[in-house]
Symmetry: C2
Subunit: 606 residues, 2 copies
């Protein structure tokens, strides 16, 4: 399908926005009037630039406060509209968005609004353009798309149609099913936006918090299905007012926006048959949710301290890579690669996360179709070639086949180590990544669209110097869980440590083995253990045993969770967790205690 | 009155928080349980530290989910409570906050809650402590302070009282007048918080957006009046959950918090008589709202380019300061000091703003009582000594007497220039300051508490790379207006220019004179003028005349506004404005066009 984006979604000047939209692969743009008004480029320059870039100018928007006014005021509306229609002629734009009146309407009467729209339509037709009337969620009288369509029907003019905006409809909880009753040819335009499910006034929600499809909580697949079944043949156009996207890198935002529509088209394509549509939605290779973590990779100039820590956690040195300066450590199915290649002066950080997927080639094709940036790793003959992509937070995401019961196919490339005897660890439970605030929503869309990981509700964890927002995205089975953490603004985000949590069925044994091997667990205050006793009615001896090993503990109605943390090395630390029963959390109280224990006054900066 | 602050208001470790509270002059603190649980300091260390600092430990909080539960569950509640009462004994804390049940209540019955509170009270009494029951705004059954008080009355136990929290009462719009029906001795504790008037779910509002008194929209003076008239004799205690205060400098936040209570005490002291109160609120020297701007000061290593610009705007060189490396420029009552002292390598920025107040000595005494940090300027004999204070945004605020019809008393210290012939400017209309996001709320409190400037509703102005939040604080008469601007997060805030807007009754004459003298006004796009014509039905010749001088124009129902901007030099630019009729705005649309015209891609950083 054709795709378009409103210039208000993007940062920069109008010409920056057009360039970025074209580079990201959009077919057209909506011109948001304030962007044109503030631009030094004349309408003729805009037309010429769009032509060179291969972009169509699909919509001029918004025209406000047109209907439901007195006849005296309507004279002013017509005068304004004539000026804008003339401008649209200069721009070669065929459709103008007319919003339902917010400020100046005094007459709550469909016939009056219809009559005024009809006369606007006549004026538009005289200029060779048309108008698309849209119900704003906070319109003075018209705030429902069904009423806007009734008024358009009453206006009964070929140059007057309606515009549908998913935010205005879904934010109000209006049932979008009635869209199918509107003839497709009278839906002159379609604007798409997602949003987090917030409880706040709809105007602020709309102006600051809209998101690209797939990043929020609206069911845009179902919404778009109704619009396409109505016979709409225009472009899918994004109109997203978002405080972050307004200020971040325009090329990156445009690409993220384009990805959201590729994802949405696929979602719709896969749920209905569209043979009869003239421009049906395109589908992607099917999403395959990962069955397990394949490995994590730590990179540093010198990973020595990490190697020591892994040894204490029970990992075995499995060998050095044949052709790369990297070492593999394993404990059961948990695999950690310590990579010293291309890492000059770098302290230890999480560099890559590998996922096991049923068909890496198909998953990689999907990722490429979603325009995920590919990561290049030099691979020699006889080495496994794992496709890899760079996530918005900077992590390299590798896609490998499911490991056999023995081991992952690439393990034999590491030579000179020895097999691991014991296997107290059962794998990787979750990986905690730091997501800079600039790319949080983009990261959610990346992991969900590429890997089918779904967002759970987010949590806020208090650290001594701010709230950390933590959003888990996970596979339905729970086999792969990523926590995306947004550090408080005042922090130097690069100093925010990431971590890997290994799973076990006997956390006490792992902790005791580690302490015997010299591990000093993260120092948990005695106050925590006093509180633990009060919270869960534990015996003093039980709690003393936990304290001796630095173990933390949480419970809910379905089970419990015992775990410990290592110290931090550079930008990384490890956790070992044991889940019992149906406990699905991550020890939210414990995370706050952990952040306090990790707190160094120098960590914050402002 | 005694003052206290909940540790959750402040950033850092528990011991950091105690230090900062004591340094800021608080008498006590509320211990927020998660701060203690995450602290390495034992209860005995906390007691010893508080004793050394002279802080009392006034409250242990919160104890959750205690009432309205089944008897089986209440056994667990009692067990938890006993552990906490024992902990309070170690801490020497006499009162525990018990919140109305949010999560586990299943019985909506005042008698059941009262019976459970009574038994908690008996247990508390056995430990020599007491409990203060508070209705949370989002309590499962009890969400109104009047109902919480009814339950406390029914509990009828000397160790069971109520706790009042201004947020929980005012956020719900509950009338606080009925507080006066509660005997003061049964109000065991008082928590104060302000908040912006937002429309959103009350839990998120409370957890993220609370502010210190005077920074938000609640009428805390009236609220506190009710509490004091009820006979409450405990401390005024702040409980402010705020995402920004949690992460910013703890010493600074504590001082801001203390200032908010000094302001609030004064507000209450000045509106009622409290002779009979054992510990009545303290009053300050009366606030005196400034009658005019006295001057602005630009500081730079070399202010030469600013001097040229001022000359083009019609300013006259009035002389060089006797003892300082500073020059004065005036045009009518508008005075600008260009200061090259202590400015090595500094590009031009706004350094100081002078206000004319009726009694500078009294205003300075008020500022000192509000703990505003004083600014020291070396003053020689025979020179005017203007008291000065540093605002949170870094601006130095000077307080001078009203200028005579001739000139400000300090003007003769500048020698060697000449008197100004013409006077097309009528003064300084407003000053735009950049407020870093970390100190925005603090800045609002600073200007309102020291100078009586009141906050108007805030606006958001779109720049090409983000929304600028602009909050005007102004004197009631409109004679002094400051716009506090918060730059988008991704910007390097130090690169965000500030500006001074001069007022005139003939902006065209000022602009023409400036252009004749070589000024190149800020380049306003032709698209702006095309839109202006459409918006206001102006003739093409009128608009062409404006465009030739770089004039911008806005209108509302009460009047209109014509203005122009200069180019930016370093971190400062100037504006000249003419208001006609009752126009009270600042040309919000025009500000967006201005920000686009000022936009340089290098201005953003992330």
């Amino acid at each position: 399908m054709r795709t378009s984006i409103a210039t208000v979604c993007l940062s920069g000047t109008l010409t920056d926005k057009l360039q970025a939209a074209a580079n990201a692969g959009f077919d057209g743009v909506e011109i948001f009037e304030p962007d044109l008004v503030a631009s030094q480029a004349s309408p003729e320059e805009v037309v010429a630039l769009a032509a060179r870039l291969g972009l169509t100018l699909d919509l001029y928007q918004p025209f406000r406060d047109a209907d439901g006014v007195t006849e005296a005021e309507f004279e002013g509306v017509l005068r304004r509209a004539r000026a804008k229609f003339a401008l649209m002629q200069r721009l070669g734009i065929g459709t103008m968005l007319v919003c339902s009146n917010v400020a100046t309407a005094t007459i709550d009467d469909d016939d009056v609004s219809a009559s005024q729209l009809r006369r606007l339509g006549e004026e538009a037709a005289a200029h060779g353009v048309r108008i698309a009337y849209e119900a704003l969620a906070w319109g003075r009288f018209v705030d429902d798309y069904r009423r806007a369509w009734r008024i358009v029907e009453l206006a009964d003019h070929e140059s007057v149609g309606t515009c549908l905006d998913s935010f205005h409809i879904l934010s109000r909880g209006h049932d979008p099913a009635a869209i199918e009753e509107i003839p497709g040819s009278k839906i002159f335009f379609l604007q798409l936006a997602d949003a987090p499910l917030l409880t706040m006034d709809v105007l602020s929600w709309s102006r600051h918090h809209r998101l690209f499809p797939g990043e929020g909580g609206f069911d845009l697949g179902a919404f778009l299905g109704h619009v396409l079944r109505a016979g709409y043949e225009g472009p899918l156009s994004l109109e997203v007012f978002n405080d972050i996207f307004r200020q971040t890198d325009v090329a990156r935002t445009a690409l993220q926006a384009r990805r959201s529509l590729i994802w949405l088209e696929d979602l719709v394509a896969s749920t209905s048959a569209w043979e009869s549509a003239p421009d049906p939605p395109t589908s992607l290779p099917a999403v395959a949710e990962p069955s397990a973590f394949d490995f994590v990779e730590v990179r540093a100039d010198d990973t020595g301290e990490v190697d020591v820590l892994l040894g204490q956690l029970g990992f075995t040195f499995r060998g050095r890579h044949r052709s790369k300066d990297a070492r593999l450590w394993t404990e059961g199915p948990a695999r950690v690669v310590c990579n010293e290649q291309h890492a000059r002066d770098r302290t230890p950080t999480m560099a890559a996360v590998g996922f096991e997927v049923a068909d890496p080639t198909a998953s990689a094709a999907r990722a490429r179709a979603l325009r995920a940036p590919a990561v290049y790793r030099r691979t020699l003959a006889n080495e496994q070639e794992l496709p890899a992509f760079r996530a918005p937070d900077g992590t390299e995401v590798f896609l490998g086949p499911p490991a056999s019961s023995a081991d992952a196919a690439w393990v034999p490339e590491f030579e000179g180590g020895h097999g691991g005897p014991s296997a107290l660890l059962t794998g990787i439970d979750h990986v905690n990544l730091a997501a800079p605030w600039q790319c949080f929503d983009e990261a959610v869309l990346f992991y969900s669209s590429l890997l089918g990981l779904a967002a759970e509700s987010s949590q806020e964890v208090p650290a001594p110097n701010g709230l950390v927002r933590s959003q888990v995205v996970r596979s339905a089975s729970g086999s792969c869980r990523l926590a995306l953490n947004v550090a408080p603004l005042a922090w130097d985000a690069s100093g925010f440590p990431q971590h890997v949590a290994f799973s076990t069925d006997d956390v006490e044994a792992v902790a005791r083995r580690a302490v015997d091997r010299g591990l000093v667990p993260l120092a948990i205050p005695q106050n925590y253990y006093d509180d633990l006793m009060a919270r869960f009615d534990l015996a003093a001896t039980e709690v003393e045993a936990m304290a001796a090993l630095g173990l933390l503990h949480d419970r809910d109605a379905s089970g419990d969770f015992t775990h410990f943390y290592t110290a931090t090395i550079g930008g990384i630390f490890f956790e070992v967790v044991q889940r019992r029963g149906g406990y699905e959390g991550y020890g939210a109280t414990d995370a706050g205690v952990r952040l306090a224990a990790q707190h160094r006054p120098g960590l914050a900066s402002h």
